[in-house]
């Protein structure tokens, strides 16, 4: 008798969570851990709107070529709808860990999305790994994350490694167009994002044969970047490679203007230079800057779905924040991340975490269902890194971002060198 009870107990313990989750299939709960307050709150709110929009498209019957757009909810789960529970990590790794645990244990989420900041993604995904819940990361680019070989961690975005190489491929291709460049300078903020990028830029600079004439890390909390820009100016590089967040992107551009530092080209990693605040703040002074992106609105010229989704996003942000905001690389990736996850849950036909995990491993989304310039989404079986992603380079022309590279998807011609200030 006692043994029987023990077996029964064991059975409930093992299956309990699975059964409980399956029973509540009318609604599938997904957790999302993002910086919703603090310095990066603005980005976090963009992401939140994008994820909610994606969930709405799955839940409602819409005539859009996105995964699960047609029909209501998740068909393989009897039309179950998706509900996303958001948690705020305030850009703190230990808070990300705690919030991931809370969402899993208290909100009973079946999968997690997160968490923008690479260092928070690192800890939050540890919680998921420990508690055996799939964690999909749509937008953290530190290569380290997928190098950990986690079983429950998946990443859709390409990493800083690939992005950094993009720059040098671009410079090589410019050479064939009669724009030779031989020296580069690096300017980057000195936390995880900037230093990570700089490491790969140094590696590829050597590999592709470019000389680095200045290597400048700065503190993003600086009250001014005067000395940084003076050093750059003294080094006279042909091209500047920059990695900044929003505040320092604004500050550095203003300071460059003040000191009249004007290399032939500025190639910036997305982050600050592609945030929705950069262009309004800089106006004409941003003209000509090249930004490594994952996404651009004008990709819609060749892919109408991008325009349609952006219109919906503008409506959504108008509703939630009283101002229509265009999608950007970060919100677009978060949007796609949500859909990749929904697609996997639907194919799993269950909310059992192990089945979702298996379905994620089997993901194979074609390019035409994505609003990204990627060849599709398919995870590397070992690292769970999306093997089909790639970046683009956009240039700020007449106050908008225009895709200029790779040349085959370009919507506009590259303008080279940088125009004089304010033109």
């Amino acid at each position: 008798m006692r043994r029987l009870t023990l077996v029964a107990l064991l059975f409930t313990l093992l299956c309990g969570p699975g059964l409980a989750r399956a029973a509540a299939a009318a609604e599938v709960v997904i957790g999302a851990v993002y910086p919703l307050s603090g310095n990066l709150a603005k980005t976090g709110l963009d992401i939140k709107d994008a994820i909610e929009l994606a969930a709405e498209l799955v839940n409602e019957d819409v005539d859009l070529a996105v995964p699960l757009g047609k029909g209501k909810g998740l068909p393989n789960l009897g039309g179950a709808t998706i509900r996303v529970v958001f948690a705020d990590h305030q850009s703190a790794p230990e808070k990300g860990l705690a919030e991931a645990e809370r969402l899993i244990s208290q909100e009973k989420v079946v999968a997690l999305l997160g968490s923008y900041n690479s260092n928070v993604t690192a800890t939050a995904s540890q919680a998921a790994e420990r508690l055996r819940i799939p964690f999909l990361n749509p937008e953290s680019t530190s290569p380290l994350l997928t190098a950990r070989g986690f079983r429950w961690f998946f990443r859709t975005t390409p990493t800083d490694d690939e992005f950094s190489e993009n720059f040098f491929k671009f410079l090589n291709d410019m050479k064939t167009r009669g724009r030779p460049v031989s020296t580069v300078a690096l300017l980057y903020e000195n936390t995880l994002f900037g230093t990570d990028v700089s490491k790969f830029e140094k590696k590829y600079a050597q590999q592709y044969g470019y000389r680095i004439v200045a290597d400048i890390a700065y503190d993003a909390k600086s009250t001014n970047l005067n000395s940084e820009i003076q050093r750059l100016k003294a080094a006279r590089p042909d091209v500047l490679l920059q990695a900044s967040y929003t505040n320092d992107a604004i500050l550095s551009t203003k300071t460059m203007k003040e000191f009249d530092f004007r290399p032939q080209g500025i190639l910036a990693m997305d982050a600050g230079h592609s945030s929705s605040e950069f262009l309004p703040a800089m106006g004409k002074d941003a003209e000509g800057i090249l930004v490594r992106e994952v996404w651009a609105l004008d990709l819609g010229a060749k892919k109408p779905i991008i325009r349609q989704v952006n219109e919906l996003f503008r409506k959504k942000t108008q509703q939630t924040r009283g101002q229509a905001i265009d999608m950007d690389g970060t919100s677009a990736r978060a949007f796609v991340g949500m859909l990749v996850l929904a697609d996997a849950i639907n194919r799993a036909g269950s909310t059992d975490p192990e089945k979702i995990r298996a379905a994620l491993e089997a993901t194979n989304l074609p390019a035409d269902q994505l609003i990204m310039p990627w060849a599709g989404v398919r995870f590397d079986p070992k690292t769970h890194q999306n093997a089909l992603g790639n970046g683009i380079i956009v240039q700020i022309q007449e106050g908008t971002y225009r895709t200029v590279y790779p040349f085959d998807v370009a919507a506009a011609e590259v303008r080279w060198p940088l125009p004089a200030w304010g033109r």
Binding site: N39, K221, T223, E228, N247, I250, E277
Partner: protein
Amino acid sequence: MSAEVVAQALVSGVLIGFVFALIAAGLSLIFGVMDIVNFAHGEFLMLSMYLSYFLYTGLGWDPVAALPINAAALFVLGVAVYALLIRRVLKAPMLAQIFATFGLGVFLQNLAIWLWLPDFRTVGDTWLTGRVEVLGLFVSRPQLAAAVGAILTTGGLFWLLTRTEVGRALLATAEDRQAAALMGIDPDRMFALAWGLGAACVGVAGALLSTFYYIFPQVGVVFGLVAYVAVALGGFGSVAGAFVGGIIIGAVESLAGVFIAPAIKNVFVFAIYLVVVLVRPRGLFGKS
């Protein structure tokens, strides 16, 4: 490196130093009169910058033209904070005073996020935008204006303190509360005045800063920290000391950034403070 680079580094460092100095002057005045450090000083600066921003975008008023409004608004804020909060902790231990103002800072900062979102904003081009070139050196016009404004304001404050009746009453209160009270000076009014003036200084600094710096709810954090160090460097309570402290910090930061390494330039700012107080435990101008 050439003499030109040194000169440029020094000029731009001293220019930003004047702005630090103005922020620090207000902080030092409050401390001098009543021995309280206002840990919400950076948030006062932030509020003033938002005021400039809204006056600019809403009414089209130039931040520099609207400068008196900032000063007046922050004066009122300073007096209100004194009356509602500081008066209660006048006799409390130092830690309670620290946390009363620190709590105010957290409150104001997050209130700003709540009300105005965490977005980065900038005041667009004003009549100041641009730069001048002198002897091959670049000087940004907004920064030059801010430096001039900082000098005039601090000068005015100094004049007020040393040449007017009110100022002497303030200094007398700072010297000895009881004695001042016996001479018929109401310390409570003097304290309120010190908070008003201190906040008005940072109000002016905010207006000047908004012409070339971005505005967001946490903008006060960094400037606040620099201001504390400037005040301590110069000697708590000495307006002149805070002024010199601010300039030293600006220059050290700029030179270290150009000649050593930008990523660690602030190490030298803090190190200078440590060195100075080790030699003079009460700062450069502090009374021992």
